[in-house]
Symmetry: C2
Subunit: 358 residues, 2 copies
Amino acid sequence: MWKGFRRTYAVAVRSASTSVTLADVARLAGVSSATASRALSDHPHVAAATRARVLRVADELAYVVSPDASRLAAGSTGRVAVVVPHLSRWFFGAVLEGLEAALREAGIDLLLYRVGDATQRRAFFDRLPVRRKVDAIVVVGLAVEGWERERLELMGVDIVAAGGQVAGHPFVRIDDHGAGRQAVDHLIHLGHRRIGMIAAVDPDRCGRGPEARSAAYRDALADAGVEVDEELVAAVDPGGAGGARGMARLLGLREPPTAVFAHSDEAALGAVRTLRRAGLRVPDDASVVGIDDHPLADLADLTTVGRPAREQGVAAGAMVRAVLRGEEAGPGITLPTQLVLRGSTAPPRGRRRRPRSD
Amino acid sequence: MWKGFRRTYAVAVRSASTSVTLADVARLAGVSSATASRALSDHPHVAAATRARVLRVADELAYVVSPDASRLAAGSTGRVAVVVPHLSRWFFGAVLEGLEAALREAGIDLLLYRVGDATQRRAFFDRLPVRRKVDAIVVVGLAVEGWERERLELMGVDIVAAGGQVAGHPFVRIDDHGAGRQAVDHLIHLGHRRIGMIAAVDPDRCGRGPEARSAAYRDALADAGVEVDEELVAAVDPGGAGGARGMARLLGLREPPTAVFAHSDEAALGAVRTLRRAGLRVPDDASVVGIDDHPLADLADLTTVGRPAREQGVAAGAMVRAVLRGEEAGPGITLPTQLVLRGSTAPPRGRRRRPRSD
DNA sequence: ATGAAAGCGCTAACAC
DNA sequence: GTGTTAGCGCTTTCAT
């Protein structure tokens, strides 16, 4: 019972066996493995009949190429690495979801790397565990500069940034400044003048995002002729707890704000909790607006500026496919954000047309 | 300029180059590639001095093995596939985070596969895109049975289930029945008798979870001598919107419940929103308890039953490492859940000691 | 303890 | 069009 036979036999028994090789397919189709390879990978110069036969045999045997062997011989891996700071936060999960969908469609596999804290981050760029494993790297929600960027580029593969930036590489992002303006302008239009900001401060993380949002806050106020009172800016950790603490600080002011712009929905939700606990009502006593349009923002009736998450992932996936095809992906694209009006914002007390009945 | 030299030269230039091969290391260390291989993979029968030398050279050249070539020659991939239904929901993200951490520590890479809807799910089990790519598969939050299970097993690799089940394979889970009891018993202890349930119905998804929680509801009521009123059970889509709708249905009853047990925090939050919109106060007019201990549950002051998420991922990761080492992982482990008391539950109106001041 | 050599499964020149 | 032949970079007997 020679080897080939044993294999074929085994195949017949457990039909989707993992160990069918190209050679098996070739032999049963009566062609050389080279031809089989060509037929399977849609090469030109294969007779239609031959191709059909090979395909049929391959199908019967439930043959799948060994990506490893293929890689070894051909060079490309069919894999892309995704580097994310978080997995349990909605935004990153949603980006990942879009990215996965876009890459899956192209038959590309996703290798996941999380770089949560500074230690992991350092370890990642130091050891570069993705070396020799992927065709491209997608960096999500991370600003990569200097040494880190050099290390990344050392791997010699394509790089795409989603919701962050890596100088010199194609990116997908939102206009953080614009998003901030949409939020603050909304409060201003409602008549608010004493507007606080709960700013996320996450060192070495999302890079330009928070800064742009903060700048937007100042610009919006300036355009409205309102002088910025630095007391009204609370810099806190991102996340709900930070938002709650930031709001507490603002409430401690001699003259608290009548409205608050939070850098994220989570922070905004934290702010709302603090307000409630202080016996204040939203939006009657204070308005709150966030950024993200987190799914739970809807449940919390939070006014916010929606930023596309899944879409950023999909766009990044498309970009990856483009660069892998050897196309230039251009500098990058910026996706639009949109104000989502809900029940957490209203005109300030004095300027309200009529008391809310709720 | 022979090939080897060119390579070595290139290496010297860009020191972490991706194209240093074992042969390069071997040559510079003055040994055969066989010995270099042994030294690098900690084999016995290598002289200490030789090993040290090889390691030093490898380090200088920033050599990393080619996982593909290694796989081809040795058989194992150093990769594990993770199959999840969602990425943007907190629970799944958290499990993934734990899993990633546990596997990363062991130098194992994560290949991500999302099977969101029935179509994707069907496609996944039909095409088995992970074939020949991984050493093991971790199925998260999915009940895999019958045909799907057969397909999965066809791949001939280890299988581990986290927050779901695949008959005959090691699992990590929580006691859903117990969690449900903790939630409902809490309401009963507070004095509630007319208790509603907002049950998640997600066909072909998490399998036994919802059923177990529903059973716990009935058992808890039975033990308390309360007859179950089927009107009080609202079966809805999982998620906040479903919860909101479920609560609306319960409020339409002639005699609405004084407390509600929701299968998830998201559904519970939806229920809270409906109550608020109806002008009812939580917990004054109605108590609400969920399951999960979602990060935002804290911000919403929601009483809930915490179920470990990250921990399930870590445990599943440990299990994978064990089975890959060839150890028996046992039938599986069940992680404890815990009641987290917050402000969304209180005794029913009539039985309250004193009116709440808030 | 180390080296030589035979593949692992596939692709890509290069012949025919 | 199709077959032949080299490898891709590594691990692993089998010698020594």
